[in-house]
Symmetry: C2
Subunit: 231 residues, 2 copies
């Protein structure tokens, strides 16, 4: 959290910027990713051109929302996981995914912006990618811990050569802490499953089928914990 700026002007600038983003976030629910700058200005009670003092273009505002979204989610997930004692792997895993799920539920349109259909013609800047990786990194750290303590073992699954090659490469990246390919493969499956389930839930695929969505998600989290060897 950066220091609050000294001058009133600078403080107002920060506040207004935040207000614009808050309003825009709310508009995501109605307009999706092609929210209207003019509508945001209207709600802020300001002439439309005034917004250009804060964001150079509509795309810039969208980029800010995306970046903020990834950062907020990363923050929420990291903090939730950090609260659990290090040796409680199952608890850490549950905290990671519960935080992810809760965050997505409470801000479904931001989740959709981050993990739904990409906006046509929009290209995310590099910085986005780093933020987006934070939850994944948390998950990998849990597994790496498990391996280091000898309580999580590498599965003996067979992997196609092409897949194994990619996974060996990934396993060598710093964030993935030397995880063996077969475990990485299962971790990526769990990752797809647990994000896939959130998307299904938020995008309405479970309607009329799953009634207690939280219980269902918690069950998926546990099933995937077992799948990756956390007990």
């Amino acid at each position: 959290v950066p220091d609050r700026p000294a001058t009133a002007r600078a403080r107002a600038r920060v506040d207004t910027t935040d207000q614009i983003k808050d309003i825009a976030r709310r508009h995501l629910a109605v307009d999706g990713p092609d929210l209207s700058l003019r509508a945001v200005a209207r709600e802020l009670g300001v002439v439309s051109s005034a917004v250009y003092r804060y964001f150079a273009s509509r795309d810039d505002l969208l980029t800010a929302l995306i970046l903020d979204g990834y950062a907020a989610m990363g923050e929420a997930v990291e903090q939730a996981e950090a609260r659990v004692p290090r040796r409680d792997l199952a608890g850490r895993w549950a905290a990671l995914w519960d935080a992810t799920h809760t965050w997505a539920q409470s801000r479904p349109h931001e989740y959709a912006l981050l993990y739904g259909t990409p906006v046509p013609g929009y290209q995310a800047p590099r910085e986005t990618v780093e933020q987006a990786q934070r939850p994944l990194t948390v998950g990998m750290a849990i597994l790496a811990d498990g391996v280091a303590r000898g309580v999580v073992a590498a599965p003996t699954d067979r992997l196609p050569r092409a897949v194994r090659g990619d996974l060996e490469f990934i396993g060598r990246l710093p964030d993935f802490a030397g995880l063996p390919p077969t475990l990485l493969a299962r971790a990526m499956t769990a990752w797809a499953t647990l994000y896939g389930s959130i998307s299904f839930e938020l995008f309405g695929r479970f309607e009329n089928a799953v009634h207690d969505l939280d219980a269902y998600y918690a069950h998926q989290v546990q099933a995937m914990a077992r799948y990756v060897g956390i007990r």
Copy 2:
């Protein structure tokens, strides 16, 4: 496939309707779900109001695209699966998911329309839901066959009560052919995993990580076959 209509006028109507939908489908790639009727008309070489002879509104056109999409996907999946000998469960499972994956890859923007972020304010008609269930039904039939032949067993997983209740209810629906809750739970997990993986692939989450996307997907399909007890 309905009979080709008798009169030239009726035939022209069918052809033009198809052309409009084809053009609109192509425009999905650029405009996403808020494609422009006027742009479609322009490409068809016709004044914008002419399109209203074929579709009562923009939403109607979108609905037609969605319905066609689900139908085409259902058709592709059913046909691929039907080509495999009945007793080859692993082959049927692979055919189901390969067809799904291939269909999605070849029409990514239609896939996004069906399985991505829902269009804000758009409400799909009931008919859509039936079409959307076809691939799911195919998968369930494979498992039901396996159970009936005694080669797929119900896992002994523990299920939370709320989840078990939902799954017992689902298992009683005709399309789900009395599958036991623990198996249904795994089937739904597989379903989330395999659609989740397609979304990750098409929405760019695997970029710079997975290079051979087909091999990776095939591996996921196999992993999920094992997960649901098909060998």
